[in-house]
Amino acid sequence: MSSSDDDTLPGIPNVGKADLDTMVENERPDPREELADVEADTDLGVAMAEDAQRVARGELSGDDYWDRYDEAAADEFGEAYHETPNPAVDAGDQTISTETAESLSCAVGSMDTVSTEPAQVEGDDSGNGIGTGDQKWGMVIDLQKCVGCDSCTVACKSENRTPPGVSYNVVMEEEHGEFPNVTRTNVPRPCMQCDNPPCVQVCPVSATYKMDDGVVNIDYDRCIGCRYCIIACPYGARYFDFGENYDDEVDEAGELTSPEYGVDRGTREDGKSPIGNVRKCSFCTHRLERGEEPACVETCIGDARNMGDLDDPDSEVAQMADSSRAFQLKEAEGTDPNVYYLK
């Protein structure tokens, strides 16, 4: 198709490409102004940025770029630079030659390795481990907004890398009434992180327990796999890990695992926890600790799921949980879930 600006397609508003480019240009902040706000050398920053664009356009090679700037950047940023991963060094598709990569003074490995490091080691404030925050995590799910697409279930599976037969989140679909007056409700069901959790009550070895931030943890290194907690959970939220894998569907399915409850367990192997243990939704504790929302909340296409601190009366979730639309599943059980629903 010819790309003249004046080509009009039926039903598509005619926006000149040149206009769009101007819009972008107008929005673009002035580099010098931006860099003036930071301590680092403005000239160096502008030069690096301009050359980076040339690399992108293919006018300059990555190797030349880093030859030119490695030393200057090291001088400028000192210790911080030595500890920073270099975006050009990457396991699969690195954009510079190995020689250059090795000569760099910022050699802490690729971006990849850093981003998959467990949340636990992040920051120096060790001592307050996982789950010690003083908030009380709660989730509010608006059933009017849920369309039953199961995106949350899928997002959860890929975030937590759960094996076949283990699904921390499911969307229960219920039909009520008789034709033609039928209504259908979709009820997503994560673990409720109950305030009075029967699963915790029954565990003979205290492998599952409530953390300060309200999340119910499972210590995979202690769980003996007796499955009493599955029996006790009134919400069917717990799953036994039978050791199955998606090996037929995905190559190297067990290579990556999720740092659930802040513990990195490396690759998935037979006889190694959490195989033979009971598993369940952790409200994505590892993400919460990084300041991210749980994968299901982030992915929800209807924005039906909300995450926040129930102890903070001003938080959105606390207000929603207080509204007259709010209810909990199986309130009569006395479990007092920290997952609320809006009818």
Binding site: G165, V166, V170, M172, E173, E174, V187, R189, P198, V200, Q201, V202, C203, P204, V205, S206, A207, R222, C223, I224, G225, C226, R227, Y228, I230, I231, A232, C233, P234, Y235, G236, R238, Y239, F240, D241, F242, G243, E244, D270, G271, S273, I275, G276, N277, V278, L329, K330, E333, G334
Partner: protein, 423 residues
């Protein structure tokens, strides 16, 4: 046996050598099959079962509570002699105690093989949870086994001492060791044994009733999420059906061991007493179960009613009608009705065996149906039938129990040397 002559001969084992060979061959078959199934279980992990996250407890748990019940029942029968001093019952108290010990060992093997992480089986002794019935149970089982072994020791010590004094060589030493060196056979030492037998038995009764078997019932009854179990009557029925199976087992063992090992004739009065006891337990068990079902149906609680419908008309309803109602109640009851049948050893062996087998179905019908109906509408229904690996390992574990019992019965003086020792 029980000779006191100079040519002392103690041979408590099989009278008939051919029968002995056949019996050990049979046990070897069970063990070989069990070993192969266990190998598969160990290498394939829990995936070798038909368990799922919806039905996480299956055959192994059912067998586990079955053998705990068998043990508690047999022990309580033994207290009829040791605590309540019903004279004739003394004849069977060692049988009952020994069977109770073996049953507990078998029950614990079932718990072990059921763990997702078998290598962590000692964890419950390192970490505990005060609110967990299971945590308490594990400790109660250990205490209970201690009581059983102590009871058997005090019941049998005098005969072990007699054997140690009369036999030479390795055998004499062995019995001396089993008597823990207390080789005095005089009256004061016997009175001492009797006293302690009674004392330990008195401690054991509440332990067996409330902690061991009642507690195992509580394990299920505390599950509020499963209304079918969540009833106060539940642990009581647990104990009654335990007594039922325990009495039946002791009756079978008494007849078989007297005939096949001791080559003596069965004491028909004792047999009738056991038979009447069994009859009583069958009536109470059936009545309480009927009450439980009635309460369930009149509660109109959907989960509870649905579960009972699964039990009575579901896929596995044959196990309810044939085994639970038929084998554990109706068939033995019919055989127990006539006095002349109650005094016919082989009829009572058959009646006892059907009850012992029938209660297995009772245990399956406790564990599995409550997991078939989902805990929340919208979650999938469960379905479960054990895999060959689950059956195979179960048979193997039962084989281990049979082997231990037989070896014990061939070596230990389970039949008291002279009548009236207890008086």
């Amino acid at each position: 046996m029980a000779t006191q002559g100079s040519q002392f001969d103690f041979a408590p084992g099989f009278e008939n050598t051919r029968l002995r060979i056949a019996w050990y061959a049979f046990i070897s078959l069970l063990l070989a099959g069990g070993a192969y199934a266990t190998y598969l279980r160990l290498t394939q992990g829990m995936a070798s079962t038909n368990l799922t996250s919806i039905v996480p407890w299956g055959a192994w748990v059912a067998f586990y509570i079955y053998f705990v019940g068998l043990s508690a029942g047999a022990f309580l029968v033994s207290t009829l002699a040791n605590v309540f001093e019903i004279g004739e019952m003394h004849r069977i108290d060692r049988d009952a105690l020994f069977a109770a010990i073996i049953s507990m060992a078998v029950a614990l093997l079932f718990v072990w093989i059921d763990l997702g992480r078998m290598d962590r089986m000692y964890f419950p002794f390192i970490w505990r949870q005060l609110t967990s019935a299971l945590s308490w149970e594990v400790h109660a089982y250990v205490a209970y086994i201690g009581i059983l072994v102590t009871e058997l020791y005090f019941s049998m010590r005098i005969d072990l001492a007699r054997l140690a004094n009369r036999l030479d060589g390795v055998r004499g030493k062995l019995y001396g060791l089993l008597a823990l060196g207390r080789l005095d056979t005089g009256d004061p030492s016997q009175a001492f044994d009797q006293r302690w037998l009674k004392r330990v038995g008195i401690v054991g009764i509440p332990l067996a009733i409330f902690m061991v078997h009642g507690g195992t019932g509580v394990l299920f009854a505390v599950s509020k999420a499963r209304p079918y179990w969540n009833s106060g009557l539940f642990p009581v029925i647990f104990i009654i059906s335990a007594l039922l199976s325990g009495t039946a087992l002791v009756m079978v063992l008494y007849v078989l061991r007297t005939r096949l090992f001791d080559g003596e004739s069965v004491d028909l009065d004792l047999l009738e007493q056991l038979a009447q006891l069994l009859m009583g337990f069958i009536i109470i068990d059936a009545a309480l179960t009927a009450v439980e079902a009635l309460i369930a149906f009149s509660s109109v609680h959907p989960h509870e009613v649905d579960t009972w419908l699964v039990v009575m008309f579901g896929e596995m309803s044959w196990s309810f009608w044939w085994f639970m109602i038929g084998f554990s109640w109706v068939f033995p009851m019919v055989m127990l009705t006539r006095r002349s049948w109650r005094r016919t050893p082989w009829v009572m062996v058959v009646a006892g065996l059907t009850a012992v087998i029938g209660i297995v179905a009772v245990r399956f019908n406790i564990v599995i149906p409550a997991q078939i109906i989902p805990v929340m509408e919208g979650l999938p229904h469960g379905s479960y039938f054990p895999t060959p690996v689950e059956w195979g390992t179960s048979i193997g574990i039962v084989g281990v129990g049979l082997l231990l019992y037989t070896v014990g019965a061939e070596v230990l003086p389970l039949t008291p040397f002279s009548e009236g020792d207890h008086e």
